[in-house]
């Protein structure tokens, strides 16, 4: 259908059709005189140096620091968003820095970061910035990590995978109804994204934020683990994360530790090798153990890495190969 002056964004499955001067659902892509432009290229509103364990990426250069950045906006609208002050506002409402891609890489190198993480809000909506920065970083020997919900179309994802080394995907639930009602998205595109990332050789870790009463059903967690096992295999790290009351779900309590422990037991029972609990300190729940000899491989205390018993990506004790990016 012909609509003079209109454009359709094809970055994510929402496919926003935009009239002149209209913005997409993500708030950062706008129809500017019949052309689609991004308002956040080179304008991050959050720039920090974090331990890579904070992403969380547990099987990716453990103990190193990651230069982390985000812009305003998001293409999902989760009622529990932990970063809603930047993800659910227009880019005009945040304090933005002027940081072109070359400068990001320069700063990452200067500060001794071995990776750049596109994180906090949603890197998919600042796609062009992510891609250009990643390309320069890759050529400079710095690795790139996406921390994303994975709500992206196949073509842009394929292109992005050429420059991305690792990704943490926030699998919010294993229910399309939950995605539609609580997050304003859909489940199927996320699953496709995870499969494609693995297929294209990106080191994937999956995080599931357990929100009490909404997505803590053991049956659903079991089905989620089965899907991971059948479609990816047992060796991709899986993180259960504790929910804290935020944004539009302040009336709910934080996730009880027992729920997280139970979820971890389900995942391990299903056959996943590396299952972790995050956002709360539980003895041993952040450590990596060898799936073969069961000995401690990486000890973690919060975001700090303690004992490491890996040798060239394999268990020091039995020689079993451990999935990850270790150097």
């Amino acid at each position: 259908m012909s609509k003079p002056g209109y454009v359709q964004c094809q970055l994510c499955p929402k496919g926003c059709v935009l009239a002149p001067s209209e913005r997409g659902n993500c708030r950062v892509r706008i129809n500017y005189n019949g052309e689609l432009v991004t308002l956040v290229y080179g304008k991050p509103c959050a720039v920090h140096i974090d331990p890579i364990e904070k992403k969380p990426m547990f099987h990716f250069l453990p103990g190193t620091r990651s230069f982390s950045l985000a812009t305003a906006g998001c293409n999902l609208h989760c009622k529990f968003c932990q970063n809603w002050e930047i993800s659910q506002v227009n880019p005009e409402a945040t304090d933005n820095q002027d940081l072109p891609p070359e400068k990001v890489v320069e700063l990452a190198l200067q500060t001794g970061c071995q990776s750049i993480a596109y994180t906090y809000s949603e890197p998919i909506i600042f796609y062009e910035y992510t891609y250009d920065t990643s390309l320069i970083a890759k050529n400079a020997g710095v690795k790139n990590i996406l921390v994303t919900a994975g709500f992206i179309n196949e073509a842009p994802l394929r292109k992005l995978c050429q420059v991305i080394d690792g990704a943490n995907i926030d699998l919010k639930a294993f229910s399309d109804d939950y995605y539609r009602e609580v997050c304003g998205g859909q489940l199927e595109p996320i699953l496709k994204c995870i499969k494609l990332l693995v297929e294209l050789g990106v080191m994937v870790e999956i995080t599931h934020l357990i929100v009490p009463t909404l997505n803590d059903d053991p049956e659903m967690i079991k089905r989620m683990c089965e899907w991971i096992l059948n479609n990816l295999g047992p060796e991709y790290p899986f993180h259960f994360s504790r929910f804290y009351p935020q944004y539009q779900l302040r009336s709910l309590p934080p996730t009880p530790s027992e729920t997280l422990i139970k979820a971890r037991e389900i995942a391990l029972r299903q056959g996943l090798y590396y299952v972790y609990i995050g956002n709360v300190r539980l003895e041993g729940a952040e450590n990596t153990y060898c799936p073969s000899c069961k000995k401690l491989l990486i000890e973690r205390i919060g975001y700090r890495v303690g004992e490491v018993n890996l040798k060239a990506g394999a268990c020091k004790f039995c020689g079993a190969k451990i999935k990850g990016v270790w150097s």
């Binding site: 003079p4 209109y6 454009v7 964004c9 019949g34 052309e35 304008k43 005009e92 933005n96």
Partner: protein, 57 residues
């Protein structure tokens, strides 16, 4: 001579009026600063060509 019974100091009515005026101008100022920040903010965003879209012409 008629005695002037008016007490010295501000009356209850005057006090409420003053508070109302302060509230009005405070609200106006907050709104003005917010609008100003948004106007300034619009100059602080970029207009970089995006990828992955199609024209519906």
């Amino acid at each position: 001579m008629k005695e002037n019974k008016r007490e010295k100091g501000i009356t209850r009515r005057g006090f409420l009026g003053l508070m109302g005026m302060i509230g009005f101008w405070f609200g106006f100022l907050v709104k003005f600063i917010k609008n100003f920040k948004s106007t300034i903010g619009s100059f602080l965003v970029s207009h970089h060509p995006a990828q992955f879209y199609r024209k519906l012409d």
